[in-house]
């Protein structure tokens, strides 16, 4: 058990280090000189010379990587091209908005999807179930940004029930501003998770210990909630960990559609203005988040189910 935990954490650290090294080479492999790339087309020769020295580009490559890593360990992600503010400050300013958005989105999705999945596993052959099955696939298939634009059109532009853009101030305003974005991100997850729960629920409901519980005359709801669900929820835990990557990806679109602040809006803006330090900082921070989340969910899954520890 502890050995598995240790192995998993070492792997996570290795992945982060490789990601950083790849990022380093990505900046350096691009044709042209890295100082010019980092500074963008607006750079003056003096700025370039200064950055050249700052980045230590005259030193050997190994030393450069070491300096790069050293800076990262001290939280130094470089400086914004335009405002000269530290990239770390800017990224961490925007990060809470994105975290809030994806947490709210996935929470409502799980809250709806888990009971839905259990219900459809219990009523396997009803017509409602079949219709729900098709709708489920449809919500998974339709991209979140199309969902977002249509939701915006219907509820904000035509009906005017909900605000179209921004994040709002204060708790009440903020919550109202979250409804449409969280709907657009979460709806696909409702379909995805309910399918997952349904599939593993069906598998577990066929097992012997459940049949024994039934033979004791325990009610079906009680069986599902107390004996089957703790097992059926496992794949969802694993998927949620991996899912943070795709949640962050959809947040990019949703933040742009609803003109919300956040990491996604930040990177799109940075790509448009060729603000490379911000782009790279965003990539680093988001991949770090993903690695932490997947590692955590693997550890939780391993703690809940010893079988998963075997295959690393």
């Amino acid at each position: 058990m502890w050995f598995y935990f240790l192995k998993r954490i070492v792997l996570a650290v290795a992945i982060i280090m490789i990601a950083v090294t790849l990022l380093f080479f990505m900046i350096h492999a691009v044709p042209g000189d890295p100082a010019a790339i980092l500074l963008g087309p607006r750079a003056t020769p003096e700025m370039k010379a200064q950055l050249y020295e700052q980045m230590g580009l005259d030193k050997p490559l190994v030393v450069q990587i070491a300096i790069f890593f050293g800076g990262l360990l001290q939280g130094d992600l470089g400086y914004d091209v335009f405002s000269q503010r530290p990239v770390a400050d800017i990224v961490f300013e925007q990060l809470p908005y994105t975290i809030e958005l994806i947490l709210v989105s996935i929470s409502w999705a799980v809250a709806v999807a888990v009971p839905l999945g259990c219900y459809s596993a219990m009523r396997r052959n009803s017509v409602v179930n079949q219709v729900a099955g098709v709708l489920t696939i449809a919500t998974i298939a339709i991209p979140s940004f199309v969902m977002a634009v249509y939701a915006l059109l219907i509820f904000a532009v035509i009906l005017r029930w909900l605000p179209a853009i921004g994040a709002g101030d204060g708790f009440w305003e903020g919550s109202i501003h979250l409804i449409l974005p969280a709907f657009a991100i979460g709806i696909g997850w409702v379909g995805y998770i309910s399918r997952l729960v349904r599939a593993s629920m069906l598998e577990i409901l066929g097992e012997n210990h459940i049949r024994m519980a039934r033979s004791f005359g325990i009610s079906e709801w009680h069986i599902v909630a107390h004996y089957a669900l703790p097992l059926a929820i496992l794949p969802t835990v694993t998927i949620l960990g991996v899912g943070i990557a795709s949640l962050l990806s959809s947040a990019v679109f949703i933040e742009v559609v609803f003109a919300r602040p956040g990491i996604g809006a930040l990177i799109v803006d940075a790509v448009n203005t060729r603000n490379y330090p911000i782009v790279m900082g965003t990539v680093l921070v988001t991949s770090f988040l993903v690695v932490v989340a997947t590692t955590l969910s693997d550890l939780v899954a391993a703690a809940l189910d010893p079988r998963t520890r075997e295959n690393l």
Binding site: I15, L22, A141, V146, F253, I267, V271, V283
Partner: protein
């Protein structure tokens, strides 16, 4: 349906036709599969024959009034520059479909190669490749794509490249797992004991067994790739205007959403139809060939 062609070429003529016939038969019994096939044919055919279908020049501005509602002359209305949305939508399917097939095709080839290398090669190489795959997967796909676009500049080639790279780790992992499993099977051991070279074993025995499931995986990724392409174009990171593209059309509509709902409605529909069609088809194909496939992931 690439998987059908593959099984066709593997087997001898009669057997291949038999497989094809049974697939068609099973697809016909799957209502969602039928709907998927119909939608896919509709979307692909309208993109292929786009020049014959369009009613106006998709790039010319002011062929009609700005932001007109749908009418007989402008079937889906016009956009903020007075371009015909119907013609733009029909032409706009060509790039997403091209990007989907080009990127998935190259991802398939590279993923197959790397997966075979990881599966057959020495332990350290296997571990190294797995680590690289895991690293790539830990960067959120859209954020990685945006970073690459920032470095390489937005273009059709960048789009294909970025999307291809995104899919390689998944395919590589599946191929690697299957290769590892096959490698320990008895008939491979028998072949090896008869003195067959590793190249022969991989080319004759491993690759044909691995490619079937891989093709189903790839076909299931088509809707996701279409969505990514449309999404990146929506953000203005894809093809340059005035080239029509579903994502660009949706974004144009989004910009004028307060003046007229029609461009947005028309811009989203083809994306919805295409992703739904390919998803239904992919699900049906998976059910037919290998119901347990996605579980390995």
């Amino acid at each position: 349906m690439p998987s059908v062609e593959a099984s066709h070429s593997e087997a001898n003529e009669g057997e291949g036709l038999g497989v094809l016939r049974s697939v068609v038969q099973q697809l016909r019994n799957n209502r969602l599969g039928v709907l998927g096939v119909a939608l896919v044919i509709f979307v692909v055919a309208s993109a292929l024959f786009a020049p014959l279908i369009i009613t106006h020049d998709p790039i010319r501005i002011m062929v009609g009034p700005r932001l007109a509602a749908p009418s007989l002359d402008f079937l889906l209305g016009t956009d903020q520059l007075g371009r015909d949305t119907f013609s733009r939508t029909i032409m706009g399917g060509r790039i997403p479909l091209l990007v989907a097939f080009a990127s998935l095709g190259s991802a398939l080839a590279v993923g197959l190669l790397l997966g075979l290398i990881a599966g057959i090669g020495p332990r350290w190489l296997d571990n190294l490749l797995l680590l690289v795959f895991d690293t790539k997967r830990s960067i959120p796909s859209i954020i990685f794509a945006l970073a690459m676009i920032a470095l390489l500049g937005p273009s059709l080639a960048t789009l294909i490249f970025v999307i291809a790279i995104g899919s390689v780790p998944i395919y590589g992992r599946v191929v690697r797992t299957q290769t590892r499993a096959l490698r320990n099977s008895e008939y491979i051991a028998a072949e090896r004991s008869m003195g067959a070279s590793t190249t022969r074993i991989v080319a004759v025995h491993v690759a044909p067994n691995v490619i079937g499931p891989l093709l189903i995986l790839v076909s299931m990724d088509i809707p996701a790739v279409i969505a990514v392409e449309a999404g990146l174009s929506f953000l203005g990171m894809g093809v340059r205007p005035p080239t029509p593209d579903w994502g660009v059309i949706l974004n144009d509509g989004y910009a004028s959403i307060n003046q007229s709902p029609w461009p947005v409605i028309a811009g989203g529909i083809p994306i919805v139809l295409a992703t739904l069609g390919f998803t239904f088809l992919g699900e049906a194909l998976r059910d037919i060939f290998d119901p347990k496939l996605r579980k390995d992931l």
